[in-house]
């Protein structure tokens, strides 16, 4: 009996360990599920409004894209890390959507129109995805587009031997815009890609 006691204790300990393990696994799964659902935008809906030029120099207005799901990134081409990271994520998101990607329109709106002219954008967007549409325009037209969905950006001068060189600080998310132009949610490259693919697919159900 005395010998059995330690055995019983060991079995009990193993049992407790298994239970604890299951609880931890369940908690992890819960945490992952929470990550899988990016926070929806609540409150007064913001609507993306713009009148800009695409990277072929053709005018494009937000009204032209009503009825489509938009994935919109505000950035600039002289951006060494953040923009390529987010645009790379956008590219993988489109790949992840497979044939469904034809139902969304990916947009890259520059916050640096002084440097990001039509030809500069034309050279840039194709590096990330052939479907990506670059948009530029007058300074105030860009500011209006950004303001419509609460994107912030500002110029920041950096000490450099390259004359006049500067960078831009800007909101880093990809903005998901619904068929009515309303901002639905923001995606970030740090979120799991599968979650974003699922989120976009679920939004497609509401497409006209």
């Amino acid at each position: 009996m005395k010998r059995l006691l330690p055995l019983g204790a060991i079995l009990l300990a193993i049992g407790a360990g298994v239970v604890l393990g299951c609880v931890l696994l369940a908690q992890r799964a819960q945490a992952q599920a929470a990550q899988l659902a990016p926070p929806a935008i609540t409150g007064t809906a913001q609507h993306l409004e713009f009148a800009l030029s695409d990277h072929h120099g053709r005018p494009l207005r937000s009204a032209d894209l009503r009825g489509r799901l938009l994935l919109v990134y505000f950035g600039f081409t002289t951006c060494p890390d953040i923009c390529p990271t987010e645009l790379g994520y956008l590219h993988r998101l489109l790949v992840g959507l497979g044939a469904d990607a034809a139902r969304v329109t990916p947009l890259f709106i520059t916050v640096d129109p002084a440097r990001d002219t039509v030809p500069v954008l034309a050279n840039y967007v194709g590096l990330f995805d052939a479907r990506l549409i670059g948009l530029t325009g007058a300074e105030d037209a860009i500011r209006a587009a950004a303001d419509s969905v609460g994107v912030v950006y500002s110029r920041t001068d950096v000490a450099s031997t390259v004359p006049g060189f500067y960078l831009m600080n800007h909101s880093r998310s990809t903005y998901v815009i619904g068929p009515d132009g309303a901002l639905i949610q923001r995606l970030d490259a740090s979120a799991p890609l599968e979650a974003a693919v699922l989120a976009i697919r679920s939004l497609m159900k509401d497409l006209p």
Partner: protein, 157 residues
Amino acid sequence: MIRLLLILLAISTGAASAELSATAAWARASATGAQVGGVFLTLTNAGPTPVQVVSATCALAANVELHTHQMRADGSVGMMAVPTITVPAQGHLDLKPGSFHIMLIGLTSRLVEGTAFPLTLSTAAGDAMTVVVTVGPAAGMTAPAAAATTVVPCCPH
């Protein structure tokens, strides 16, 4: 052939301290006319004291800076130049997207996927190490396979 020359160049450059080594050095392909590029790599310090990287030079860029990311109060994100990047003693530091990186400003040549170029890092102790940087896809997040296996020791005697 160019790669081989670069590697030979790497081995023949530099001064003392064989403690620092670099692996998986890569950059993203740049657009025609692009002014900037970002270089990423893993720095490993086998020595007993931290090593500080204080500067970098590259023939393809007018200016090379050590950078990291900075979140601003308004929620926007920007880059910030840092004076040094410290590699911990008997540890490593990943320079990777979204974190520390080496920024090439004033590119004199387009960074073409599949090519490679040399970049020289200098430490606070006065050592220099030339690293072979492989150019990967513009949308890449990790080192291309060609770069992942390249180990460049610092400064052999």
